[in-house]
């Protein structure tokens, strides 16, 4: 059974049927099979957080899941956040306005980490925000503007 396995996965509300090799990582499936390149691949061993997606609504590393394991499950990627480029998710809008990114490589993973976090903690302290993003590495910003962006997002989502 190293042969391809048929899977059905819902990504951003749309159902996809594909045949995949068991060893195909979910991160590579999203990027190469579905062309959803918003999910970034950094370290590929679960440290950097760039590939964070929502798996049935919970933030997980897509580089530590095989695509076959997502069979029958619902995935949300960064492409699923905004309705269109003029109607961003409030967290995205806040990152734009507060300059929460420079190169943007880590940003999709951070956004996908924050969506469930802010649902659970609609009014977080700075300490809670920093803990929430502790699993996402950013090498540009020093995190200060990211934290500012999260605070702005909290206000926007009130």
């Amino acid at each position: 059974m190293t042969q391809p396995i048929a899977i059905t996965i819902k990504v951003n509300g749309k159902e996809y049927k594909r045949e995949v090799e068991p060893r195909l990582l979910l991160s590579d499936f999203l990027r190469h099979e579905l062309g959803l390149t918003g999910t970034h691949v950094g370290c590929e061993h679960g440290v950097c957080g760039a590939c964070t997606i929502l798996f049935d609504g919970e933030a997980m590393r897509s580089c530590l899941l095989f695509a076959v394991q997502a069979n029958g499950h619902e995935i949300t990627t960064v492409e699923g956040l905004a309705k269109d480029k003029d109607d961003l998710h409030p967290i995205q809008q806040a990152f734009w306005e507060a300059h929460g990114l420079q190169c943007g490589y880590c940003t999709p993973g951070i956004l996908m980490t924050l969506v469930p976090f802010l649902k659970r903690h609609p009014n977080p302290t700075e300490d809670e925000i920093r803990h929430a993003i502790s699993g996402n590495l950013c090498r540009c910003t020093g995190y200060q503007h990211i934290v500012d962006a999260v605070k702005l997002a909290v206000e926007k989502m009130r």
Partner: protein, 293 residues
């Protein structure tokens, strides 16, 4: 950075999984949360021929009280332990320590059984199993047996499991009354592997003397390190600052055997163990005293 090819099975019953494990004992790896196994496969440090994925097996994911114990299915996610009310009430040490395990994204997927069987000396859950006197249920296709946590960890990344066995359940006795607890670690960044960490439990008698204690260290040797000599120093004694100081010295100088790594020297790990032992014992004693009132 891509895993080598493997044969993939995702059985939906434990029996099928055990049968697959029996047939492929030498070449099969169990996939639980995959938060340690998949990185190792991505690096091709591990190249199993067969992968048996337990994520479809609903019967392995539960947390419930039974008598004076908490029973946890091996596939319960770390995130479930973190938010479980029974665990918070009956084994508060576990509830307090789980948030130290990696990051939220990892805890959403990682399982209690996976972390225990991985037996990483720097991991939190093996330490907690020893501290809490857990019993671990292993099954093969024809038998099952309970293994005490103190007999389970057999060295670095090594356990007492036989090649045809799967860890299926964890039993934790309720923490006894008049018991205080503490879990402390030092890590370069929240969620990183800790340089040093300790789980402490102290049970007081009615005269505020130490009735029972437990100190277990992570990243301090080949597995979770149970400091029994220190505990025998504490038992039956009033827990004065002087006794705590000498306990911390014995623990850090004699009982642990840290190796150091790129982030730390063994000497610094011993220093951390000394500081953490004092702080953790004091916090545990204070909580035990609160429980006495």
């Amino acid at each position: 950075m891509k895993p080598a090819p493997f044969e993939y099975h995702a059985p939906d019953s434990l029996e099928q999984a055990l049968d697959l494990k029996r047939q492929n004992a030498d070449d099969a790896k169990i996939l639980a949360g995959g938060q340690s196994l998949v990185p190792a496969m991505n690096f091709r440090i591990v190249q199993p021929g067969v992968l048996i994925d337990l994520n479809q097996i609903v019967e392995l994911s539960f947390i419930r009280e039974e008598g004076e114990t908490i029973r946890i299915g091996a596939m319960a996610r770390e995130r479930h332990l973190e938010f479980d009310e029974s665990i918070a009430k009956r084994v508060p040490l576990l509830a307090e320590a789980v948030p130290f395990i990696a990051h939220p994204q990892i805890r959403n997927r990682g399982t209690i059984g996976g972390s225990i069987v991985n037996a990483d000396p720097a991991a939190e859950l093996p330490v907690l199993m020893l501290a809490l006197n857990a019993r671990l249920k292993a099954k093969n296709i024809s038998n099952e047996r309970w293994i005490d946590a103190q007999d389970f960890f057999a060295g670095m990344f090594t356990t007492a499991l036989e090649p045809d066995e799967i860890l299926v359940e964890i039993e934790l006795p309720f923490m006894p009354p008049q018991t205080g607890w503490s879990f402390m670690e030092v890590a370069p960044r929240a969620g990183d592997y800790a340089l040093m960490g300790v789980a402490a439990l102290v049970t007081l008698d009615e005269n505020k003397k130490c009735k029972q204690a437990k100190l277990v260290y992570l990243n301090a040797g080949d597995g979770p390190v149970d400091a029994r000599e220190v505990v025998s120093m504490l038992q039956g004694e009033p827990l004065t600052d002087a006794l705590i100081d000498s306990a911390a010295s014995v623990a850090s100088e004699k009982e642990i055997n840290p190796y150091g790594n790129v982030h730390t020297s063994p000497e610094f790990q011993r220093h951390l163990a000394k500081v953490l032992t004092k702080k953790a014992l004091k916090q545990a004693i204070q909580r035990a005293e609160e429980n006495l009132q």
